[in-house]
Symmetry: C2
Subunit: 341 residues, 2 copies
């Protein structure tokens, strides 16, 4: 197994160079020679060794993404859909996608050093930004092509190529929607502090309240870890300690699904007693009952755009729009309940 140029060279009597150039379609090889060589190559089932080619060309035609991976994160649709979008756009450019899944125990930075530093891929997609993200710092330091889904925290400049949604505006819309529906006591479940977009979502919450002249009460705010369980816990504590709350803004859908459980657990009705809103618009949001009001972000499209931006950078195209902020959209569903009169 493993027919090489050398094998074809020996069989055909020509040199490796000529075989390579014949198969490569160069015009400094006799037409008869080419025919003979291609025929032999086909007979022997020659396939160029891509690894050798990659080494030689310093091009892998592959983009990489490193994803956290635990059994319970299996239903994290965000990454799922993002990866689909990436793969879809990549396939149009005949690029492959290398996924390196990291167990929770593993040091994430190691994976970046290995994959990016080790020249495994032409470019890399960084998926959920942290404050002062060490991955971004590293990739910049070694000058490796990369793009970012998300951006730096609000106080920091995002001096790297990224695509993000305007999640501050998104959360603000959601808050205003609830205020419009007559709610005055609105809880908030935030992502962890170290996630970069947490600041934006908090700002959106504050902005929404401020516009309506409602004072922000820190005891209405909880933090989760983006996973379902933490949404359950946060909502539980929020409702137990602040019985006056009638609406909860949750910063991602997965936690919102958890919060649904907590609301039921407290014998309250979602929508009617407690209005609930999420963020992301994962498929499940539409299908839960009651369906979940949420802020839609075009995850699949973000994946596609990230890929196209990355490929431009790889091709040294010096793209114009180095940072793109997409709008998001309020999806009003049953968990909003109805307007209080």
């Amino acid at each position: 197994m493993g027919v090489t140029l050398k094998d074809i060279a020996e069989k055909s009597g020509f040199s490796i160079t000529t075989v390579s150039r014949a198969l490569g379609g160069f015009d400094d090889v006799n037409e008869d020679t080419r025919k003979l060589i291609t025929q032999i190559a086909n007979e022997m089932g020659y396939q160029p060794n891509l690894i050798a080619r990659q080494l030689r060309d310093k091009r892998t035609h592959t983009i990489g993404i490193i994803t956290p991976m635990s059994a319970e994160s299996a239903d994290d649709d965000f990454f799922n859909i993002l990866i689909k979008g990436i793969a879809h756009a990549a396939s149009e450019y005949h690029y492959d996608l290398l996924i390196s899944a990291q167990l929770p125990s593993a040091d994430e930075m190691d994976a970046y050093r290995r994959i990016a530093g080790g020249n495994r891929v032409d470019g890399i997609i960084v998926a959920r930004t942290y404050r002062d993200d060490p991955r971004i710092q590293y990739l910049k330091s070694i000058d490796h092509p990369f793009v970012v889904s998300g951006r730096a925290e609000p106080e920091q400049a995002s001096d790297f190529p990224y695509i993000d949604v305007d999640s501050q505006a998104g959360i603000c819309m959601l808050v205003e929607h609830f205020i419009d529906y007559g709610h005055r006591h609105i809880g908030l479940i935030l992502p962890p502090e170290h996630i970069a977009f947490t600041g934006f979502r908090y700002n959106g919450y504050r902005e929404g309240l401020e516009t309506a002249g409602i004072p922000l009460r820190p005891e209405y705010i909880r933090q989760g870890d983006l996973r379902r369980d933490s949404g359950y816990n946060a909502a539980n504590s929020l409702l137990t300690e602040n019985p006056e709350i009638t609406a909860i803004v949750v910063c991602n859908d997965l936690m919102a699904l958890g919060a649904m459980g907590a609301i039921r657990q407290q014998n309250k009705r979602i929508g009617l007693d407690i209005a609930l809103g999420g963020f992301d618009d994962i498929p499940a949001a539409r299908h839960t009952s009651p369906s979940l009001t949420t802020i839609h972000q075009p995850i699949f499209e973000i994946g596609e755009r990230l890929t196209r931006l990355l490929l431009k950078i790889i091709m040294q195209d010096n793209p114009q729009n180095i940072g793109q902020i997409l709008p998001c959209k309020l999806m009003i569903r049953d968990s909003s309940g109805t307007r209080k009169t």
Copy 2:
């Protein structure tokens, strides 16, 4: 950018060999030398070039999967979940996953030749078997490690490593369930003829009817292409041309979701007028309304098992259970309606 062994060798005054062996942890290197070399390597931010290593070792520590990819297949949860399972198990063995998405226009075999023949991966996972699957034939012919999700069609021996569910039994269970609920006119929506498991699902349907002594009526059978739309069309034609039908068995959930639309379109009530059952138990099945009765197959676990089996083959472990058939499970949900009296 790109610090190599050579750079470290020059800076440290030792040879490339010694640098390699020092960093590799061999014991024929003086302890002081090793310290010096590791220090320099760290200072310079050395990362071994994985491509070069792969070329030399003929090992990529990567497994590959080639997936069909179109924008509308974006919601094909089966592949999504399978890939998650694969990635999860792979990460435990420090293997990466190479995904090559193929546009519908592309020749699938080309991708296999490129990736497997081109030594891009140590092993490959073949995901949805066809009758006389050319991909399997090819991989066998070049003796490239692979495992298969699914198996050969009923009439053929599956002389390759595979993991599959007993879908004949699954469909049979579903048919018996409907018969038990009092249905006598049961439609069937099959996958395309060229898919290997179509035969098993057909057999399950026949077996279920036979056991109950109900004659099989060919006009109750339609074929779709596994996608949502085709389920819609098939159900539509089935109900229009055979108004006596009261239950439909659909061979995958995605088509079943489409069939739901068709039933509604015909002003019939899912469950009450027309009982509906799917296959796969994708997440959406639980969340639609009404929720979808379906045959559960453990897709995530299949992905994990496939990976473990493949890695054993790669390690030349000559695994025992070269073909595994897992049981599947009937999930009775609202689309079953109630037992007719």
